[in-house]
């Protein structure tokens, strides 16, 4: 199994605006702490990257995101912590059981 980092202060999402309100959504998200926004050029969708100092701040940010009127839906893509840059061998527990030579 993949070893997950803990805490996981950096996350990325796909953010879907309420129809016709992409610009409003981008502006609102940019005002929130630790949020970076990359809007798509040719589709009503943006990438949101959040960077929270700790789990409490992340939870608070989550509540603020829920209150953004132009936001229709958020889809979490990645959640990264320090472990993500120092990878464990995720496949080691799932090695093929054919066995070696004897």
């Amino acid at each position: 199994m993949l070893r997950r980092g803990a805490p996981m202060p950096i996350k990325s999402y796909l953010a879907y605006p309420v129809s016709g309100r992409l610009d409003e959504l981008a502006a609102a998200l940019r005002r929130l702490p630790g949020c970076e926004v990359i809007p798509a050029v040719n589709r009503d969708l943006l990438v949101l990257v959040t960077d929270s100092p700790d789990e409490a701040a992340e939870a608070a940010l989550g509540l603020e995101l829920a209150e953004v009127p132009a936001l229709q839906a958020l889809a979490l893509v990645a959640g990264l912590g320090d472990a993500a840059i120092d990878p464990a061998p995720p496949i080691s527990s799932a090695r093929h059981s054919s066995g070696g030579r004897s």
Partner: protein, 779 residues
Amino acid sequence: MTRRDLLKSMAAAAAVSAAEAAFPGIVFPAQDKAAPAGGGPPAPALPNDPNLAWKKTPCRFCGVGCGLLVGISNGRAVAVKGDPASPVNRGLACVKGYHSVMALYGKDRLTRAMVRKDGKLVPVPMKEALDLVASKMAETIKSHGKDAVAMYGSGQWTIPDGYVASKFMKGAIGTNNLEGNARLCMASAVTGFMTSFGLDEPMGCYEDIDHADVFVLWGNNMAEMHPVLFSRLLERRLKNPDVKIIDLATRWTRTSMAADRSILFKPQTDLAIANAICHEIIRNDWVHAGFVRDHVSFHEGKTNIGYGLEDKFTFKDEPKTVGFERYRELLGDYTVEKVEALSGVPARELRYLASLYGDPKKKVMSLWCMGFNQHTRGTWINNLVYNIHLLVGKIATPGNSPFSLTGQPSACGTVREVGTLTQRLPHGDVTEEKARKLAAEIWGVPVERIAPKPTYHTVEMFRAVDRGDIRFLWIQVTNPMVTMPKLRRYRDGLKKDDRFIVVSDVYPTPTTDVADVILPAACWIEREGMFGNSERRTQHWDRLLPPPGEAMSDTWQIIEVARRMGFEKLFPWPEATHIPEIWKEYTRFQAGPEHEMAPYDELRRRPGVIWPFVNGKETKWRYNGQYDPAAKGAFDFYGKPDRRAWIWFRPYEAPPEVPDAQYPFWLNTGRVLEHWHTGSLTRRIPVLHQAVPAAYVELHPTDAQRLGIANGQRVRLTSRRGALVLPAQIDGRARPPEGQVFVPFFDEALLINELTLDAFCPISGQPDYKKCAVKVERA
């Protein structure tokens, strides 16, 4: 750059990749101002950091050959961005590229040599392991002959790796038992080029994308397999709305979603479809008569050529030159109506395809990769797509380009150009006296030492190990105990008591599991090297990091063993300068306007150089006198004795195993965006592993419903060779047609190649991983 900055850029790249997967064609602005706007993930945000040094390298993964800049800080690779100076990717990278450096730091990196003692692998000093490899190799030659030892490398070998392997096996030992895993991925492309043009590798380059009006993708899921290059197609269409992308495939994929038209055909019938297009081109008088008259000749070869299912299978074609009328007559069986019945593609779609190729106002690029090459008639289908382009004269000019893509970063540069295949030398074939003489002269060995006959291509090589004709096998940079078809036979063969298996790799794999000796290898930027990509571009990188522990480059491992076996004079180079000296020696083979390589200093300076590199200039379009200094006249297909490109009549022939009452489904296998080949690197990158943690079987929803299988439920697949249980995926990232299932091969815990068939193209020796018959049941 801080650790958090890197994590943020990785998170952003993952999200952009996810968006691209969900909405092919979606475009995000480039984050790096030096990169152009366009498709693909944004380059990471890059704060100033005085300790960060950016160094150029080609990407470690696919054959596109993206230029990357790797950020090195305090002796560690901490960041990656696309190289804006690279003409390949223009500052972009895919999700694998952005995370590539993390593959260096898995906690189970092999850092010490291991030797099997009393059945168990135990660590030993590298010197002791190299001594053992050399002594075992010498002992095997003494007791069983030079053809009892073999080496098996890959398209992930650097050019110097492959060169010293060729010199060692063919020039020093004197055996042609040298193969590369590229035999499994592009051998049919090579034989396609050789039979149609007499010379390997594409005539065009990626710049064709900037000129083409139509892209026809033949069995090629570019959106996942060549994502950065695919983003260039999407960018071209975004700026030119009349541009069309046609996806011609056996399974609906992300590429189909992004295409203007998706056309599904029954497996193997691409042969008939290509002939139908040619038939329609001739019927409508769309043939470019002048081009055909001046630059093309017509040929036919043997038919009913077999499938290589039996050991020691041999095949030799008997080409016969014919005229245009004979060719037209042979195409008579391929009317669009007849081919509709065979392929399932409506006649109107076949006419539409032909009209795209036939329209003199449209520039057409055809692209393909494993769908064509992993095919029991792989050489033929490569020939057939060239036939189409040749009939209408759409070849070797900007935007008119039949383009064979490769899967690995140096399948072209190493396996094809250096020639790490049984039949090849760095210039020419072993069967050619002139080629042997040139090799003997450059290598400083007696010409008699270079064996004039090829021995075994990959499948036959592993069969020879199983039979005992080969007793010693050294495997570098590849994982055949995941990738060989009909895997059980070949794994059992390698595990036999009197076989000696050496494996050089970066991480433990199912192949190191069967090794007698494991040599820890330096990975990618831990050593200096060069790769050659799909567009004839050679790219150099410096050693940017020290390898961990006693890990050593594959090049230097071979040199160490060769010296121990008494071949010091053939490998005299000091360690500090061995790469430039190898390059200097190797490029003597390629001297001349047909294949001149760039000097070492030029390679170091530039983000890759396309060969032939003549008088300081790249040759972007071969065979075209306007661009190619080797060409005489407007077009000159100088690879063939008649200086013409060859159109071959190649018929449709059925595959060796088709679904029946007992095994009613087609099994197709392949790759996914997030994982590189067998996953030994990418599955150690948590972000990529999390995205696709395990293999699965794709089913059509109608089949799933009929069999009572829900998404995620366990499914048993059974072929005549083995069985495997894995979770169902229904309408995930792709959808096979009814009666077909698809399984990715990256997962070493779920070895789909236990089920596949070891049938191969008789001309290329490349196996077909795309078609065999299976039974599907709820487990």
